[in-house]
């Protein structure tokens, strides 16, 4: 039986062809398998991008509903996970823009990042809660454009390859590198400014 390639970072494992093709035939049990398999990766991406658990859950629901509605258009020659990630990122970016317009989650980019939102260095060693993670990413990426934020999330936080980021975003390699450069520079500068160059320096 043919196996779908699903080597997107984090989504290790295999999806059997018949699970997708049965889902295309409107088999809810097969679709449930897909949801159970990919839901954690979709949530992880949405959470890292939006920094809000409720919003991330909504995005995951909307994304899978969109998958269900459009599964007939899925091309089996591409990785299912790449197709899913593309849908999740589109929903995320739409939601991010809407939230930023309302400024309910993301205040104006003109405001300086709130450095006090970054946890003490010792907290990083233990474990981060959802809230802490959200605060950290929100603070670090406050100055980034949606594209810089998306590329950084996919490449550096989700650990996808550049080729996968190209497939998901549709951006050119040059554009991805430029956006990555600015995103990393901004985030690294913020981290070093807060925590110092060497441990205990500040």
């Amino acid at each position: 039986m043919r196996e779908y390639k699903t080597d997107i970072a984090g989504s290790r494992g295999e999806v059997q062809e018949d699970v997708v093709s049965r889902s295309q035939g409107r088999d809810l049990a097969a679709f449930e398998q897909l949801v159970r398999k990919y839901q954690p990766y979709a949530f992880s991406l949405a959470m890292r991008f939006l920094c809000d658990e409720a919003e991330a859950s909504d995005v995951v629901q909307d994304s899978f509903l969109r998958v269900w509605k459009n599964i007939d258009h899925y091309d089996p020659n591409q990785k299912f996970s790449t197709w899913l990630y593309r849908i999740v990122t589109n929903v995320c970016v739409d939601r991010f823009r809407a939230l930023r317009r309302n400024r309910s989650i993301f205040p104006s980019r003109e405001r300086d990042p709130m450095m006090e939102d970054l946890p003490d260095e010792r907290d990083w060693e233990i474990s981060l809660s959802h809230e802490q993670l959200a605060d950290i990413v929100r603070t670090l990426s406050k100055r980034l454009s949606p594209t810089q934020r998306l590329v950084f999330t996919l490449r550096d936080l989700q650990d996808l390859t550049v080729a996968e980021v190209v497939d998901i975003t549709g951006l050119s390699i040059g554009s991805i590198k430029t956006n990555l450069h600015y995103a990393r520079k901004s985030i690294r500068d913020t981290l070093v400014q807060h925590y110092g160059v060497v441990r205990g320096e500040l």
Binding site: L28, P40, F43, S44, W68, L128, D156, R184, L191, V197
Partner: protein, 234 residues
């Protein structure tokens, strides 16, 4: 090469996004440049935090509930009637009795109007063919040359001009001179008459050769053939 470029390479070097050649260049530069070495230290320090963000994978607090929510929405979507495609919507619209009868009436009206116009057009073509086949070329007989010659107008309005108008059947007004095309055609087709202006001008009308040439040149420059069909200007 400037430090700015190397610092860009430093930022891109996190996961091998630079080429082997660029990596070699960067290594050599770092051995010599203290500023960029400090930059590398800062980047490595910051990446320690980013790596911990990567290692932490956020999961939903209640994955089962999230799965249930997704499937509930999918079932609701499946239960609701599938929206018709645009073609089906159009076809359904035309199945409504009122729309059906109105459509038939409109189409009948269009067909009737088109047929009437076609019959009228064929009738016009037939009339035109009959007129084209007629042996009488009305335009040839009733055509007129209109021309302007201030010299001839001056001569024609003088006393001696009366004989010019009588001899040449000219109609002279303030702004133009009309002459029958039939006379002109006859004049042009008869070699004997071509000398008439010279004869008339020089001996009968008493116009000198220079004036006559001026008149001829003005007429050549302004003559326009126009037609009068059934007494109406065309």
């Amino acid at each position: 090469m400037s430090c700015e470029r190397y610092q860009r390479l430093l930022h891109l070097n996190r996961a091998g996004e630079i080429s082997g050649h660029e990596a070699d260049e960067l290594r050599q530069h770092l051995r010599l440049c203290e500023k960029c070495s400090l930059k590398l230290q800062r980047i490595e320090r910051a990446d320690g935090f980013i790596d911990r963000l990567v290692a932490f994978s956020p999961t939903p607090k209640n994955p089962e509930e999230l799965t249930a929510d997704i499937l509930r929405r999918v079932r609701a979507e499946s239960a609701s009637p599938k929206p018709l495609n645009p073609l089906d919507r159009v076809l359904d619209f035309f199945l409504l009795p009122s729309v059906r009868y109105s459509t038939v009436a409109i189409i009948s009206l269009i067909v009737l109007t088109s047929a009437t116009q076609l019959v009228m057009m064929l009738n016009d073509i037939s009339n035109l063919e009959q007129r084209m086949a007629s042996p009488v070329r009305r335009d040839a007989t009733e055509a007129t040359y209109t021309m302007q010659s201030k010299t001839l107008q001056g001569v024609a309005t003088s006393d001696r001009g009366r004989s010019i108008k009588e001899n040449l059947s000219l109609t002279v007004t303030n702004d133009r001179i009309d002459v029958s095309a039939k006379d002109v055609d006859a004049f042009l087709s008869d070699p004997g008459l071509r000398n008439l202006p010279t004869v008339v001008g020089a001996s009968v009308l008493g116009i000198d050769k220079k004036t006559l040439e001026k008149i001829v040149n003005e007429i050549k420059a302004t003559a326009e053939r126009s037609f009068r069909l059934d007494g109406k200007g065309a």
